[in-house]
């Protein structure tokens, strides 16, 4: 196996070099018994020689094909990854009374509440997320893992009477990503409503509406209407 690998690796050398040294080099490879270390050494020597003698088009083409093959295998082997992103806007009917919800701090405060251990463990169990891990790890570890899969990002907006941000959840399964993201949106909505109650001064001036949800899947994206969406969506 190693001898065959050595013989194949020797083909990395330029044809011109092989015409001069090929026979004696093959004789040396038959005698040398360095295992995979020699295979790596011969591969390195072949590449260096290609660079010294100028890269032939065949070598470049072969390297390109090998690169494509490796990328294809890596892509096929890599676990599928789905990210579901919901764009959420909390809107105020009275634009003059929305102050506390117009800044990053308000999003962070809602995020802290919405991503609490209790909330996330409820979503994990309700949506059936991380089934494999749940059998092996304590719920605290899974909650921490889920926090790394969640991204909440404010979106710069020209709208003066609301806050706009996105909630993303990554999962190995598109349905789980979508269910989990939808559950997170619900929690943010509840939290916004709770904040309204807590800040009664503004409670009458706020309305929470989910504007739009979408799921990105393997580079394709599509939008989905949702209950509670604004009429134009």
């Amino acid at each position: 196996m190693k001898r065959k690998a050595l013989a194949w690796t020797a083909l990395l050398y330029p044809a011109k070099w092989r015409r001069r040294y090929g026979v004696e080099f093959a004789a040396l490879l038959e005698q040398a018994n360095g295992g995979w270390r020699d295979v790596a050494d011969v591969a390195g020597g072949g590449l260096m020689m290609q660079m010294r003698m100028g890269l032939g088009w065949r070598f470049v083409a072969v390297c390109g094909l090998i690169g494509i093959a490796i990328a294809g295998v890596a892509s096929w082997k890599a676990p599928k990854h789905y990210v579901s992103t919901a764009v959420v806007r909390f809107d105020a009917k009275d634009p003059t009374r929305v102050g506390p919800l117009r800044n990053l701090q308000s999003i962070n405060e809602m995020e802290q509440q919405a991503l609490s251990r209790k909330t996330l463990s409820g979503i994990i169990e309700g949506a059936g997320l991380y089934k494999g891990e749940r059998a092996e790890k304590p719920i605290e570890d899974i909650v921490n893992h889920m926090r790394t899969d969640i991204a909440v990002r404010p979106i710069p907006s020209q709208v003066n009477h609301g806050i706009l941000f996105s909630i993303s959840l990554a999962a190995d399964d598109s349905a789980h990503a979508r269910q989990g993201a939808a559950a997170l949106v619900d929690k943010f909505q509840q939290e916004a409503q709770n904040r309204d109650a807590a800040h009664s001064r503004y409670s009458t001036g706020l309305a929470t509406r989910v504007r739009r949800t979408r799921v990105r899947q393997s580079g394709r994206s599509f939008s989905a209407r949702c209950s509670g969406c604004w009429p134009e969506y």
Binding site: Y21, A27, L28, A32, A40, G45, M49
Partner: protein, 95 residues
């Protein structure tokens, strides 16, 4: 001491050798195992520079011999190395 050029010249200093004999000899006297790719990369460069030459042989294993130019280069390198060694030893004694 891992410069393949110097090791190969030192190996050929006492007579012609083919690639595998050089690998074994170098491993014996310097404790360094040159891989086939490293060895033949150095042989290619050294033959181009005229420091070694291929010796006629019926064997598939091609023997090489050191040339006068190669011997001169080896002497220069050893002289420089000797200077470094002496300086280092002197400084170690006084340290």
């Amino acid at each position: 001491m891992s410069d393949p050029t110097l090791l190969i010249l030192a190996s050929l200093a006492d007579g012609e050798k083919h690639g595998y004999a050089m690998m074994e000899d170098i491993e014996r006297f310097a404790g360094v195992r040159l891989g086939p790719g490293t060895l033949y990369g150095a042989i290619t460069r050294m033959e181009e520079r005229g420091w070694i030459r291929a010796v006629a042989s019926d064997d598939r294993r091609q023997p090489y011999a050191i040339t006068a130019l190669g011997r001169k280069h080896l002497e220069e390198q050893l002289s420089a190395l000797d200077q470094v060694l002496k300086t280092a030893q002197r400084r170690l004694k006084h340290a």
